[in-house]
Symmetry: C2
């Protein structure tokens, strides 16, 4: 059975989750794919992270060039976070002939065309299913199973932190600050929640969704954006009285003249709409295609194993072509 | 640009929808896939069906052997319906070196292992995304993007007719017979609704879902099955009082000892469960994987264009490997 060597850049939440899945579901994956995967090198300073996962600290490197120069490594998983630094590493990996998988929405959204072009130029694959909606396999579906559709609209609840906050405010009548503290305690929100609550993370994801659905890349910084910090209890009450929920929605619509209208902002969603039932930390991506009509993908948008599931799906898809 | 010749067996709802999508979205598909598709032959007696779609009646044949013997045809779409006859045609097409795509759940469920084995033996592809959930790309996701997961449970609302009937009964207080007549008038139900209302169609789909999620093929005839004909208004009222909806649910669960529990029957679904919000003719497939957690795929489970979207997705996936 073919053994495919991969490298993981960063053994944080997603990098660690990816390794855990490859290890725990090893036999199942081998039976389904006809190959095994070996994490041959890891870019990671913190040896305790390797030990906690049962990985030999000897495979840790601090110089990424050692990974790019290793001809046996075919797939590089970038799970460091950040924008410019990881983007540079992904480009270098692809130039070295390695296919790249990443969950890093900020780096993908900021460098979408450059990363895709680099993959094409170097005859490697670049996959980023985990970058939008965590474990939800929407990006692959949009690009593959749904590729006979002209998409007319895409909407998403693609940030678990803000969806958790809005759900708790609406359903339990708790104040924004109170829920934010609770979310931080539970690990659903960062110590500095700006990227989540101001919609920056959602704009990154919308940029990626638009590029895939409409073939038009709009940098996330050019997407009109409003977060959830101005949503009041009075707004949520008024929404409820109208039979609606307030959700932080990423949306993009293709108008009849071909132009795109897009935004990230809190929107009133009627209770009868499938997105209205997407609560707490769950995510959903709702697309409309000219053949398939309305579709919704629902699941966990974050976390080590859900996000790792998507990264592993990309790794397996690449392995099938090697 | 490569031109791939396909044949369609049967130009009914799905066969016609498939052709319509290939024609209307031709440029888009060519840009995305780098190839064009030509319907070179059609197995169809009714020339009016070809004319209605703008197809030259000269490509119609009544002898399927003319399709199997045509070396230029690479992909055969079986859209005839039935069980044994279309299964025989699919096997013959694969033995003739053609990849096969079908939306035919009854034929796939009754012949699952035989059809898959035949594809493997002949080095061709056999794809059937449209056989469960119409346009919803759940089967491809289960087999590809989610393939790093051990699945523990799969549930589905996979019959639009019965879901429409139960929704109208629950929400509008209409009697079963009345809603059935309405559904028949709207084309959501067959003149003989037995396969739908007795859960036969759902059992076919559950057989396919179980085979893909758990690697275990259970013939649909061996799945315990109860339809919706015994669901009364009193049942629906009692469910509502408990904060639940009654849905016709296909479900299969892997127990800790590895054994499977499965059934097709009306079940009480709590209003907070994502499946509770799947109403009218919509379908949904809800899976739980050991990495990804809970996921739901929601969309249109029937109709010429939604089902054709899934067939076209399969055609494009095959084309990428030719």
């Amino acid at each position: 059975m073919k053994n495919i060597k991969i490298a993981i850049l960063g053994l944080g939440t997603v990098g660690g989750g990816t390794y855990q899945i490859l290890k725990e579901n090893r036999e199942l994956i081998a039976a389904r794919c006809g190959c095994t995967f070996e994490v041959a090198k890891v870019l990671e300073r913190d040896h305790a992270r390797l030990e906690a996962l049962g990985l030999d600290p000897a495979i840790a490197v601090t110089d990424p060039q050692l990974i790019f120069d290793d001809p046996e490594i075919r797939i590089v998983v970038e799970a460091l976070g950040g924008i410019d630094f990881p983007a540079g590493l992904m480009l270098a990996a692809m130039r070295a002939g390695k296919s790249v998988v990443t969950p890093n929405k900020a780096a993908v959204a900021a460098n979408f065309d450059r990363l895709r072009a680099c993959a094409a130029e170097n005859g490697v694959q670049f996959r980023f299913e985990a970058s939008v909606g965590g474990g939800i396999p929407a990006l692959t579906a949009i690009q593959e199973a749904l590729s006979a559709n002209a998409f007319t609209e895409v909407m998403g609840i693609v940030n678990g932190t803000t969806n958790y906050i809005l759900t708790k405010m609406a359903d339990e009548g708790l104040a924004y600050e109170e829920v934010l503290k609770d979310a931080q305690a539970k690990g659903f929100a960062e110590a500095d929640p700006t990227a989540d609550v101001e919609g920056i993370d959602v704009a990154n994801k919308l940029s990626i969704l638009m590029a895939l659905c409409f073939g038009t890349y709009v940098p996330p910084t050019e997407i009109p954006r409003e977060g959830i910090t101005k949503v009041t209890m009075a707004d949520l009450e008024a929404a409820k009285e109208q039979g609606c929920r307030i959700k932080l929605i990423a949306s993009a619509k293709k108008d009849t003249d071909g132009s795109l209208t897009y935004s990230v902002k809190p929107q009133l969603i009627p209770a009868s709409h499938p997105l209205a039932g997407v609560n707490n930390e769950f995510n959903a991506i709702y697309v409309t295609g000219n053949a398939v009509g309305e579709l919704m993908f629902y699941g966990k948008g974050a976390g080590a194993l859900p996000t790792g599931s998507a990264v592993c799906g990309d790794i397996i898809a690449i392995a099938k072509t090697l």
